[in-house]
């Protein structure tokens, strides 16, 4: 096993990885920008190195600085965390070239899944259901129209190298498509320095359901059930739960079986997630995330498996050591992403934490680097705490969620705790009858 791991990330996920390392007796190196010198993960780390100024490009995305930090601290492995360099295949390669272990999948798997069109093709080849769409990048308006007619309207234009909804346009007919294609290409070019876009059938009220998988790179693969991440705003997940209130056992059996079979064929290594749209009993591949995910903790709550520990074990060359039949998912778990934003208009709210009281007691887990006196910096994403609630069933979980939210106090800045309280009290959410458009409709109704 590794002796010292460098954590190339920040915030709650860096703290999460630090905890997994310390739980295994592994020393940690925190790298940080000047803006994060007082962050909890830096304070707790065995060693820390400041790698640059606040802008991520000069610090958390600064590959030479991170490798130099690994060199001077004598780390033997690097965990990229979530975001930043976690899905950068070149980084995974250069880490290995410099004699460090990259804690994550094989670079080729990161690479193929990083490109939407290739990923979709690969998924098809692996027997994963996908949405009907144009094979690849659209080369002309006519090609687009032809493809759209075959797929059927309404059809969605998407950026090949895209994500987070940028470059997405919905066309209801030929004329709209002709008008929107250049816009979509321009947006894609601006956002991703690549103007290629493709077409896909549009689903009007799908759920976002994803399957958590673990593979050891030697053919052993298990799934840890699904997560329902349909509660989204601007394509950002807000609250996730497992199991999904919208999926029955038959559907679960079917899709997890397909996912496990696919990753076995791929020889996938480390933790990975396949995201699907789910509507009318049909799953359609969205993308595969070749990394840990923010919401991994709800899977840990129902499976009892520490996913970061498994990533470390697998990266160290250990076999998975258990099969699907050894995995028992029990109870229900919900994660609330608490952001430093005004609950009303989601305006970012960085600043000093003047009072802090985290909820506790049974069934409550808090992953957060917050403390009284900490300054939330304005440079990075606004996730400041993950509240993870476990209950024997969904009802108990929802009751406990309300209790934990009423206990949680973060003073000095605005947070989205109030939004989660609204959700916890919402009848439709309680009924579990929501799709990926529901939250935005709910918010616009109340606005």
């Amino acid at each position: 096993m590794f002796e010292k791991v460098l954590i190339a990330n920040r915030g709650e996920i860096a703290l999460r990885i630090h905890r997994a390392c310390r739980d295994m007796g592994i020393k940690t190196v925190a790298v940080h920008s000047t803006a994060d010198a007082n962050a909890m993960n830096v304070r707790l780390a065995d060693e820390s190195v400041c790698i640059g100024p606040p802008p991520a490009r000069q610090s958390y995305l600064n590959i030479p600085a991170i490798l130099s930090a690994a060199t001077i601290t004598g780390a033997d492995a690097i965990h990229p965390g979530i975001g930043f360099l976690s899905e950068n295949a070149d980084f995974a390669e250069v880490v290995a070239e410099h004699g460090f272990t990259f804690i994550g999948p094989k670079p080729e798997h990161i690479r193929v899944m990083g490109d939407k069109v290739h990923a979709k093709a690969a998924a098809k080849k692996l027997g994963i259901p996908t949405l009907p769409g144009s094979g690849g990048a659209l080369r002309s308006v006519d090609e687009a129209v032809a493809a759209a007619r075959e797929i059927g309207y309404p059809a969605l234009l998407k950026a090949v190298s895209g994500g987070g909804g940028r470059g997405m346009k919905l066309a209801r007919d030929d004329d709209e498509l002709r008008a929107l294609l250049p816009l979509a290409q321009a947006e894609a070019q601006a956002a991703f320095a690549d103007d290629s876009v493709y077409l896909e059938r549009f689903l009007d009220r799908p759920r976002h359901i994803e399957i958590q998988l673990l593979g050891d790179g030697n053919g052993a693969v298990v799934h840890l059930g699904e997560r329902d991440c349909s509660l989204q705003r601007l394509h950002q997940k807000v609250l996730e739960e497992t199991p999904s209130p919208g999926l029955d056992d038959a559907g679960r059996q079917k899709i997890t079986g397909i996912a496990v079979k696919a990753l076995k064929e791929l020889g996938y290594q480390s933790a990975g997630t396949i995201e699907f749209l789910y509507q009318d009993g049909e799953f359609s591949f969205i993308e595969m995330n070749t990394r840990l995910q923010v919401e991994h903790s709800i899977t840990e709550a129902v499976s009892g498996i520490d996913l970061v520990r498994e990533q470390l074990r697998i990266a160290a060359g250990e076999p998975l050591g258990y099969g699907q039949s050894d995995i028992h998912l029990r109870g229900h778990a919900i994660e609330c992403r608490i952001n430093a934003e005004r609950a009303e208009d989601f305006r970012p709210s960085p600043g000093r934490i003047t009072e802090y009281h985290a909820p506790g007691g049974p069934g409550v887990r808090v992953d957060s680097g917050l403390y009284q006196g900490y300054e939330v910096p304005p440079y990075y994403d606004s996730l400041i705490s993950k509240l993870v609630i476990y209950g024997g069933d969904r009802e108990e979980c929802l009751m406990r969620l309300r209790r934990a939210l009423e206990e949680y106090v973060i003073g000095g800045i605005d947070t989205t705790i109030a939004l989660h309280q609204r959700l916890a009290e919402n009848a439709e959410f309680q009924a579990g009858t929501y799709d990926i458009g529901w939250l935005e409709r709910m918010l616009s109704r109340s606005a």
């Binding site: 010198a37 304070r43 060693e47 190195v49 790698i51 030479p64 130099s68």
Partner: protein
């Protein structure tokens, strides 16, 4: 930067320090100390660098270190991004290993007391096998060398003081 320990990062407030320094002038005091909520700041007539024990907490925070060495003492050399706000402080522009001489055994590029010209090489920082020459941003006299030969430095580490 910390190695193999885990002391809290020190984050003194330069503004506060300056105002306390002024107060010393006004009042003719030789020392001012103020403590609140786990922070302590202490300024003394001859001291330049100050230390606060961070507002919050580190694993080792139950015994909280407070460095109060004069500027340039080695104790202060590791504050990296923190402290060393003297305008003449030369800070590491990248992470790596500092070398004060072109090769082991050779005399250092500069010594305390040397007068240096703008653009003159002062030391080297090796990062990813590349030797990066660190040059003087302006002419002046080297009054402190904070970093040791073959010593790792992080971004923003104070290297030298040129006045």
């Amino acid at each position: 930067m910390k190695f193999g320990g885990s002391r809290p990062k020190l984050a003194p407030d330069p503004g506060l320090i300056r105002s306390l320094a002024k107060l010393l002038d006004e009042t003719g005091l030789s020392e001012i100390e103020y403590e609140a909520d786990g922070q302590r700041i202490h300024v003394a007539r001859q001291a330049a660098v100050l230390a606060t024990s961070a507002a919050s907490v580190a694993p080792s925070a139950l015994e909280k270190p407070t460095v109060a060495a004069p500027a340039g003492a080695n104790g202060a050399a590791h504050h990296g991004a923190n402290g060393h706000d003297h305008p003449g402080t030369l800070k590491a522009p990248l992470v790596g290993v500092a070398y004060l001489a072109a090769e082991p055994g050779m005399p250092p590029y500069v010594r305390v007391g040397d007068t240096v010209a703008e653009g003159q090489t002062l030391l080297i920082i090796e990062a990813m096998k590349v030797m990066n020459q660190i040059r003087a941003p302006q002419a002046g006299r080297v009054t402190h060398v904070y970093v040791g030969d073959a010593e790792p430095v992080e971004y923003g580490s104070a290297l030298m003081l040129i006045e």
